[in-house]
Assembly symmetry: C2
Homo-oligomer: 154 residues x 2
DNA sequence: TATGAAAAATTGATATATAAAGTAAATTTT
DNA sequence: AAAATTTACTTTATATATCAATTTTTCATA
């Protein structure tokens, strides 16, 4: 038995284990998104994408550029355009022209949006806490580290 | 300092840590999906949802019911209907009537689909292996366990 | 064995998403 | 500084997704 073939077998097992992790990540993520979606719809008549954008704006009251939003949320530019459009039409967010760069907009949460999010974020934290009830602090830390490792690649 | 308030503080920190994990899971998942989407589009002119469904059918050659597909992929029923429609029109999958239950369909991968997936799954494994290169076997196992814990809840 | 409840899919309406193309403004190059 | 490139964002086309309603069957049970 040579070293090369042994290495290949080992690496293949590792690759399969990584694939299993990826598939479970997908399932877990979709599961949590489904629960959050239900809560947001039944409790606040809103959607997950709108919540995600508004939560980001809530955490950064000074505002963000469209491109910063799409980078932060890991979604496309055109996507953010549409979701922000709806938030603006609902009076929850506002677009301001930037003097420094006339191509860009500064998107900010409105007072109405802030009041709404003050309440929603508290509930959101509880929903997640319940869904992740079996995840210990140690596991959470390990999980975060793994997620960061994945995103660091290419 | 009473025990109750100490417990509250501790629990709150744990809740915040769990929220951090969730946000990082979302980012990592979207990142990986983005890379896979690019590879599938440029290399095979197909989409991630189609790949996901076809990969599931590839792993279960005897076929699956529509509802089994949607449960397995953690997506809605109507969603699977649309994606399978397109796979069928592309000749990659087929719907068969079930004698045992005339409400249901048995969806199966076709020979054309199998040949295509034989090649795609090998590449898919490599893409994931590269993206997860920093994840050790131990971390992968721990990650899988965490993901299963999350999905077990409600 | 009627018959109301439950299950399996589809359909239609609406909201996301992405990719590619297009517009306008800022930057870099020559 | 004029031209070429890049950047920031929008728009259009297409493909997902979900939800709610509907259709067709099957199941439960009275």
């Amino acid at each position: 038995m040579n070293t090369d073939s042994k290495t290949e077998i080992t690496d293949d097992n590792l690759a399969r284990q990584r694939l299993r992790l990826w598939l479970q990540m997908l399932k877990a993520t979709r599961h949590v998104e489904g629960v959050l979606r239900d809560e947001l719809r039944s409790g606040y008549d809103t959607t997950l994408p709108r919540f995600d954008v508004l939560a980001t704006l809530h955490a950064t009251p000074e505002g963000m550029k469209m491109s910063e939003l799409s980078t932060h949320l890991v979604v496309s530019n055109g996507n953010v355009t549409g979701v922000v459009d709806r938030l603006v039409s609902e009076g929850l967010a506002e677009r301001t022209n930037m003097e420094s760069d006339r191509r860009a907009f500064l998107v900010r949460i409105t007072e109405k949006g802030r009041v709404l999010m003050d309440e929603m974020t508290a509930n959101h934290l509880e929903w997640i806490d319940k869904l992740f009830a079996d995840v210990t602090e140690t596991d959470a830390a390990r999980g975060i580290s793994i997620m960061l490792d994945i995103r660091r690649k290419s």
